[in-house]
């Protein structure tokens, strides 16, 4: 019982931190989630990537999906509740404050100054996250010379290249995920891949 409560507290604090320090929408949260969740061994990088696909194909914001998922995996319903509460609370409180003094906030030189550093920082962080995820996708068991002789990496590269073209042509993300899954299954069984 006490163990469960401690876990819930840890989930709450961790996701509160993630909620408080994520600026910008979409995947801006990814670098922080990656750091916290991988360090605490709540999920592996591959599981994280799988879950990005789940999150893209279900309604709702990435942050809520992620906190609910990790919370459930770690401590069932209570875990999901506290993780989600944690990720929501910072925005909730800050917006309540900002809504009361919007004019001041909008014209604040301090806010503008901080944002001028935060915006490019998030771009750099996401860039690094993409690189680390690319490494996991292409070299699941680490970068070694023998990894290049495996057929998996070339299949992954081919799927990635095809889907990147489709993504930039504005094909819907859910369609991209479905097609990637179909190709994965077809090629997997066809070549009897080890994944």
């Amino acid at each position: 019982m006490i163990e469960l409560l401690l876990k819930c507290l840890e989930l709450f604090v961790t996701f509160f931190k993630i909620g408080l320090f994520t600026f910008g929408g979409g995947y801006a949260m990814l670098p922080l989630i990656q750091q916290e969740v991988l360090n605490k061994e709540w999920a592996t990088q591959a599981e994280l990537i799988n879950f990005i696909a789940v999150s893209e194909s279900t309604p709702g914001p990435f942050a809520i999906n992620m906190s609910t998922y990790i919370g459930t995996e770690q401590a069932g319903f209570l875990g999901a509740f506290f993780a989600t509460l944690g990720v929501v609370l910072p925005s909730f409180i800050i917006i309540l404050i900002v809504a009361k003094c919007y004019e001041k906030f909008q014209s604040s030189k301090i806010v503008k100054g901080c944002m001028s550093g935060l915006k490019p920082c998030v771009v750099g962080l996401i860039g690094a996250a993409v690189v680390s995820i690319a490494t996991t996708v292409l070299f699941p068991s680490g970068i070694t010379l023998s990894a290049f002789s495996e057929v998996n990496i070339y299949i992954s590269l081919a799927i990635f290249a095809l889907m990147a073209v489709l993504a930039f042509k504005k094909v819907h993300p859910i369609l991209i995920i479905c097609m990637s899954a179909a190709i994965g299954i077809a090629v997997g069984y066809g070549l009897n891949l080890k994944v």
């Binding site: 917006i95 309540l96 100054g113 962080l125 994965g184």
Partner: protein, 189 residues
């Protein structure tokens, strides 16, 4: 507003944001058009100008845009309780759906077909992330300080420096450099 009216308004906020939370895929800015349709066109709780305000605020406050906008619109419409019920509404659909999926996923993960499917999906997700990164890169301010901060954050993150430290340093650098720029402007005048 009487107590009864207030209660009705809160319930209506809850249901509207429940619908918004249940029908936007991908989150983030994908939610804005639906919010606009529901709370500006249908319910007339806020105006188009308010929506622009919300986007501006969401961009300079932490947390997901969905939560930011639900809290803000709820507050404008019906004070603290409004913001509470709107936020609860927008969170609930994801929460329920993902809990169900989390229970299912752990049971299905070992099936060969599912493993193959996720093998393909991971490569697809990489493509989606790359596109999302490109979109953010294009929106990034274009000046020497911004480029240096982005490059420094990238390198620091690759070297696995603590992400919180990177974020806080970037905010401080932005603050200092914008004040230096302001001072220079004042001196030139």
């Amino acid at each position: 507003m009487t107590k009864r009216e207030k209660l009705k308004r809160c319930l209506s906020l809850f249901l509207t944001f429940l619908k918004i939370g249940g029908f936007t895929f991908g989150g983030g800015y994908a939610m804005i058009p639906l919010i606009q349709k529901e709370v500006v066109d249908n319910k007339k709780w806020v105006t188009d100008d308010d929506i622009l305000e919300i986007i501006a605020i969401a961009e300079s406050t932490p947390g997901p845009i969905a939560i930011n906008s639900a809290t803000f619109i709820g507050y404008k419409t019906c004070g603290f309780f409004g913001s509470f019920f709107a936020t609860l509404g927008v969170v609930l659909p994801s929460f329920v759906i993902i809990m169900v999926i989390a229970f299912l996923l752990s049971g299905f993960a070992e099936i060969t077909a599912v493993k193959y499917a996720f093998f393909g999906i991971r490569a697809g997700v990489l493509a989606l992330l790359l596109k999302s990164f490109w979109g953010m890169f294009k929106k990034c301010p274009k000046n020497a300080v911004a480029y240096s901060v982005a490059a420094a954050a990238f390198v620091a993150s690759i070297l696995s420096l603590n992400t919180l430290i990177i974020i806080i340093s970037a905010a401080v650098i932005g603050l200092v450099s914008s004040f230096i720029a302001l001072k220079r402007e004042a001196q030139q005048k």
